[in-house]
């Protein structure tokens, strides 16, 4: 109690301190990922143009307008370029808004970055943690206030995560931003985050909640329609937590999950849902496409092309969502369709058609060019008769006459595509060779990205590219035997590391219909599985603890397990029969199997009896008598097994019933000789007298159909009873 009081008094001090402190933000200008390769080999992701404005400008403009006064920009890969850009842009001159750089050369993850910032000791209170590729127009004041109030009450509430409702695609299980479907468990009363799971880690599509979660919280709501905006309002403790846990790398995978699992320190994460404002993060090419379109459709207002929120030039919005910058030379016969942005000084030739695309500054587009859903950056030359569909074309690319870019193509800086060359779908083309050391392992990917940043040869080449064109023209000679048609320059990167068949998920191109159809089929199969396992959980229903969901889950498990166990037992028995394994060994084996599946001895006998009888049936026989002989031989061989396993009367009854069932369903051949075999089993002492009598008793009240075998063995039972009486 004393400690609690002490803590609370400290909190109030903190609160006063916070009131004095300006709101700070950490902006990670490095994504620590390789999703935007090969483009990011030459330019950092945060400087890539998004609707003709570098991504970082969206983030900074938003932070500035949301009342953040001090921003620390952390940059690692290509830090020089980021710093140069910030120097040249006006962000240093803004009133009431200071931008400071923190540079590092050896950070390979967000965790490293935060540890470094902690060492610098520049954060003095609550801060906003975002990455430099966030586009938002939300107001932070409310979320920060909420966070601070929670902190006053509970010192362990270290982080508030901003989420937004966005339905994932039911077919391919990814959000519209191309990220994996996300499951969250949230306490509806306090908004506390209880569980955070990405579908990618659970291929079967099922998540498991811990029992304690259900027991401890009076109500939980489960969501799969929430999008993580990657905007976090953190307390200072977050930085020290990263330092304490030096193995935390990824913000979500390690840090958030680490806090959720760890109940010793009791740190809590809360969520703040935004409704009318927009927030999203560019994580892959698909989100680049989606967010570009959201910007063009003005969801990010006031951060739209025709509002000058950064150093961008004046653009006018015309009919049908067409944005045009000044000094455009457009042929009268050129058709520019809806939702298109055209940058300053671009020239467009006769009969060209452009729809749903973004064209940068100073581009030259020839005649009869068709551009659909593509992103063309600055100073690109597209010659006559080219066709571009859903492609990203970086600065300085030259596409020669009649070339075609199929959906999902990414052309990195200064690539040249030869005449009439068709670039295959989803290929990525760069002037750089694809790095050979590829590994799908995530950790290695981090290391890889940083090595790419400091690798002197690549950096040199990058400088050369940025340098004079004269030296480049000499370089052009090397491409005489290019993979990109006559006069082309560049390497086609082989389908990426790891999930190459997953390429369509994250590309700028819309998802092909055949993939959708396939995914739909897979879903139907999934649904059947779901029917079998009879899931009682609805995606975002509320669960009350104490309902029988847990029990039903167990039932499902046991059903599945029984089938598995029987199969396993049968296989074991048959193997033993084939290899003539000693009965004692088989008993040992069966016992361990039984224990591992947590089954009773009765289950075991039942599972074994079936293959034994089948064995007898499979050995050659013509008449019932011969079959009986077979059974006798098999039984005599294995009777010891049952003597050990089926000691109890109940187990023996189970055995009889199993046999009965078999005679009725699978192996009808045994039906006529049921009583004989029963006698045989009695003789071999597999089934005791008591078991038979009790079986008879149980069957007395049963239907006539169920009593077929009882009647058949009536004489035998009669004889048993008489013998019994005589003994008495």
């Amino acid at each position: 109690m004393g400690a609690q009081k002490k803590g609370s008094s400290r909190v109030s001090e903190d609160a006063e301190e916070l009131a004095r402190n300006p709101l700070q933000a950490i902006l990670l200008a490095d994504s620590f990922a390789t999703k935007f390769r090969p483009i990011t080999l030459e330019r950092p992701k945060v400087l890539l143009p998004l609707v003709n404005v570098p991504m970082i400008d969206y983030t900074l403009a938003w932070l500035e307008s949301a009342g953040v006064e001090e921003v620390f920009i952390f940059c690692c890969a290509h830090s020089r370029q980021v710093m140069d850009y910030l120097e040249s842009s006006g962000w240093h001159k803004q009133p009431n808004f200071t931008v400071a750089m923190i540079e590092s050369n050896n950070s390979i993850s967000a965790g490293d970055a935060l540890r470094l910032i902690y060492e610098r000791n520049v954060i003095h209170g609550d801060f906003v943690l975002v990455s430099g590729d966030t586009v938002s127009n939300m107001s932070l004041t409310h979320a920060v206030k909420e966070h601070k109030e929670r902190r006053k009450k509970d010192n362990n509430a270290v982080m508030t995560m901003v989420i937004k409702k966005s339905k994932p695609s039911p077919v391919i299980h990814q959000s519209r931003l191309g990220t994996d479907e996300l499951f969250m468990a949230i306490d509806p009363d306090t908004n506390q985050l209880l569980c955070y799971e990405e579908r990618g880690e659970h291929p079967r599509g099922a998540i498991s909640l811990e029992n304690s979660l259900l027991a401890d919280n009076p109500s939980i709501s489960l969501h799969n329609d929430k999008q993580d905006c990657y905007i976090d309002i953190c307390s200072q403790e977050v930085l020290s937590l990263f330092t304490d846990n030096f193995d935390y790398q990824h913000l979500r995978r390690h840090f958030v999950k680490g806090l959720l699992v760890d109940d010793i320190m009791g740190y809590k994460i809360f969520t703040h849902e935004i409704h009318s404002s927009y927030a999203a993060r560019i994580d892959n090419y698909r989100s680049y496409d989606t967010i570009s379109k959201d910007i063009i459709q003005r969801w990010t207002y006031p951060f739209v092309p025709d509002v000058r929120f950064s150093a961008n030039c004046t653009t006018k919005l015309e009919r049908e969502g067409m944005y045009k910058a000044p000094e455009i030379q457009q042929s009268r016969s050129a058709h520019i369709g809806p939702f298109t942005v055209i940058g300053k000084g671009t020239r467009i030739g006769d009969d060209s058609r452009i729809t749903h695309s973004v064209i940068g500054e100073g581009c030259t587009i020839g005649s009869n060019v068709s551009i659909v859903g593509s992103y063309i950056w600055n100073n690109v030359t597209i010659e006559d008769g080219c066709e571009l569909r859903h492609a990203i074309v970086c600065d300085g690319v030259i596409i020669k006459a009649a070339a075609t870019l199929e959906p999902g193509v990414v052309l990195s800086f200064k690539v040249v595509i030869g005449r009439e060359f068709v670039v295959p779908a989803y290929s990525k083309v760069s002037l750089f060779q694809q790095p050979t050391a590829q590994d799908s392992d995530e950790e290695l990917e981090y290391a890889d990205s940083s090595s790419g940043a400091i690798d002197p040869s690549i950096a040199d080449a990058g400088n050369k590219l940025n340098g004079d064109i004269v030296s480049e023209s000499s370089q052009m000679q090397d491409w005489s035997t290019s993979q990109l048609g006559p006069g082309g320059a560049g390497f086609i990167w082989s389908a990426c590391d790891g999930g190459c068949e997953e390429e369509w998920r994250h590309s700028v191109a819309p998802i092909p219909t055949d993939k959708l159809a396939k995914a739909l089929l897979a879903i139907e199969e999934d649904l059947e599985i779901v029917k079998v396992s009879d899931s009682a959980l609805t995606p975002s229903g509320e669960l009350e603890p104490g309902s029988d969901d847990d029990d039903s889950d167990n039932m499902d498990d046991s059903n599945v397990d029984t089938v598995d166990f029987e199969k396993e037992a049968e296989a074991t028995f048959l193997r033993a029969a084939q290899d003539n394994i000693a009965v004692d060994d088989l008993i040992l084996e069966m016992n361990s199997l039984r224990l591992s599946y947590n089954k009773s001895a009765g289950d075991c006998t039942g599972a074994l009896f079936y293959p034994m009888m089948k064995l007898a049936l499979e050995s050659p026989h013509n008449t019932a008598v011969e079959l009986q002989k077979n059974v006798a031989s098999v039984v005599s061989k294995w009777h010891k097994l049952f003597e050990v396993l089926a000691k109890e009367v109940d187990d023996q009854i189970e055995l009889i019933m199993k046999f009965e069932e078999m005679c009725l369903e699978s192996t009808k051949e045994f039906a006529p000789i049921f009583s004989q075999i029963l006698y045989l089993l009695y003789e071999r002492e597999i089934i005791g007298e008591e078991a038979i009598l009790r079986w008879d008793d149980e069957r007395k009240d049963a239907d006539e159909s169920d009593r077929v075998f009882v009647k058949q063995s009536e004489k035998f039972i009669q004889w048993l009873r008489e013998a019994d009486e005589e003994e008495d």
Binding site: V171, S276, K293, V307, L317, H390
Partner: protein, 421 residues
């Protein structure tokens, strides 16, 4: 100067981020900013008005480009330019009159009273020309003049020949510099005063327009309309108000709340119910975003529908507009951006419709497009009356009003910038 630049930058930022809402607030802040620009501006000895005009125009260009949709910014910039010109002119004529007076007193001894009458216009015309030359003088010449005796003093020294008199004249000139600036700032202060009090001035006229037991319809929310209605209420007029809610921002809800708080009988209706209700309405009174030179009105979205309904039922359609809303441009001017498209999230919830905006499926182009324009254009023939702080005016009279407030030289502030860009 640096602090002025900082002020300008801050205001530019606010304009760019669309952080200032409402034309009155924008107009007031623009005027205040320009006032500090003028007061901080160092003026040369000669051509003061020209220097001030250049300074104001340079900043005005930036302001207009920062938010071209908010026409009040441009209006105020032009008003201030007009004020500078007017003050300069009045000072020059005053100086000329003074000059005349002194020449007259000089000449009185030589000539008779009859020649006096003929001489004055000739002399005054020469003085005006000199003054005009004075204002147009390039700064390099001014440097030369620093040591030399005063320009105006030259002809006079020949006549009276007193060196001490020339000195006193230059002193007088300095005071004139200060006087010009002082007068301009005074006039800008008056302008700011006008902007702040325009509500009251408009509201004073309410009793003449709203009569007993009338039904008034309005759309959205406007401070001017609120004050206008309340002024009528205070004069013991009893009437009813229909408020159309003004989707998608629903500012009508706020207005209804305010009206009820002031004790007015209020009915809130949807925008689409306006046509059904218009037959019961005696007068439509609405606010505006800007009034164009042809008498057309830029007003919150939905207003044209109300105007058409009013026209159909011959209900008077009255627009309230402070003088800062009068824009000297015509709506067909390509430099005038008539509309601002705001975020679609005001119309619908992104989360609910996120599956309709999934660009990953289909051919990549969204099938759903949400448009959220902020303004409507109401043509002049649909407007019955404008009530400004100077009284009621017919739409066809607007151009005349505008000629009073603006000088024709300043209409092109923006266009010049666009050409330069």
């Amino acid at each position: 100067m640096p602090d002025v630049q900082a002020l300008v930058n801050m205001f530019l930022n606010k304009l760019k981020k669309r952080k200032i809402e409402g034309s009155q607030a924008t107009a007031k802040q623009t005027a205040e900013l320009l006032r500090s620009v003028i007061s901080q501006q160092r003026v040369p000895r000669t051509n003061q008005a020209g220097a001030l005009i250049d300074a104001v125009r340079a900043i005005g260009e930036q302001l207009i480009v920062a938010n071209p949709i908010e026409l009040a910014v441009g209006n105020i910039v032009r008003r201030v330019l007009h004020i500078i010109r007017e003050e300069d002119l009045s000072l020059t004529t005053a100086a000329v009159a003074e000059l005349n007076l002194s020449t007259v007193s000089d000449d009185d001894d030589d000539d008779g009273g009859g020649g006096d009458q003929d001489d004055r216009p000739v002399l005054s015309a020469a003085a005006v020309a000199a003054a005009a030359r004075n204002t147009l003088r390039p700064p390099s010449l001014q440097m030369l003049l620093e040591g030399a005796p005063d320009f105006v003093a030259v002809p006079r020294s020949s006549s009276s020949g007193g060196d001490s008199e020339g000195k006193s004249k230059s002193m007088d000139r300095n005071s004139r510099t200060r006087k010009l600036k002082h007068d301009i700032i005074e006039a800008v202060n008056e302008l700011i005063q006008d902007i702040t009090t325009c509500h009251e001035l408009i509201a004073e006229q309410a009793v003449e327009h709203i009569h007993q037991n009338e039904v008034i319809l309005t759309l959205g929310s406007s401070k001017t309309v609120l004050e206008f209605l309340c002024a009528a209420k205070e004069k013991k007029r009893s009437f009813r108000v229909f408020v159309a809610e003004g989707a998608p921002r629903y500012q009508g809800h706020l207005l209804a709340k305010e009206l009820v708080a002031r004790g007015l009988q209020t009915t809130l209706i949807t925008d689409s119910a306006v046509f059904a209700m218009i037959s019961r309405v005696n007068m439509v009174i609405v606010g505006s975003h800007a009034v164009m030179a042809n008498g057309g009105v830029i007003a919150p979205v939905g207003m044209n529908m109300v105007a058409l309904a009013a026209q159909k039922h011959a209900v008077p359609f009255v627009v309230l507009a402070g003088s800062h809303k009068l824009c000297p441009l015509y709506p067909h001017n390509p430099e005038v951006l008539l509309n601002e498209l705001r975020s679609p999230s005001e119309l619908l919830d992104f989360g609910e419709f996120s599956d309709c905006l999934d660009f990953g499926s289909g051919d990549g182009s969204p099938l759903l497009h949400v448009v959220n324009p902020t303004f409507d254009y109401v043509p002049p023939k649909a407007v019955s009356l404008f009530i400004t702080d100077t009284g009621g005016h017919n739409p066809s009279y607007m151009y005349r009003l505008i000629a009073d407030y603006y000088s024709a030289d300043d209409l092109v502030v923006q266009r010049r910038h666009a050409a330069g860009n």
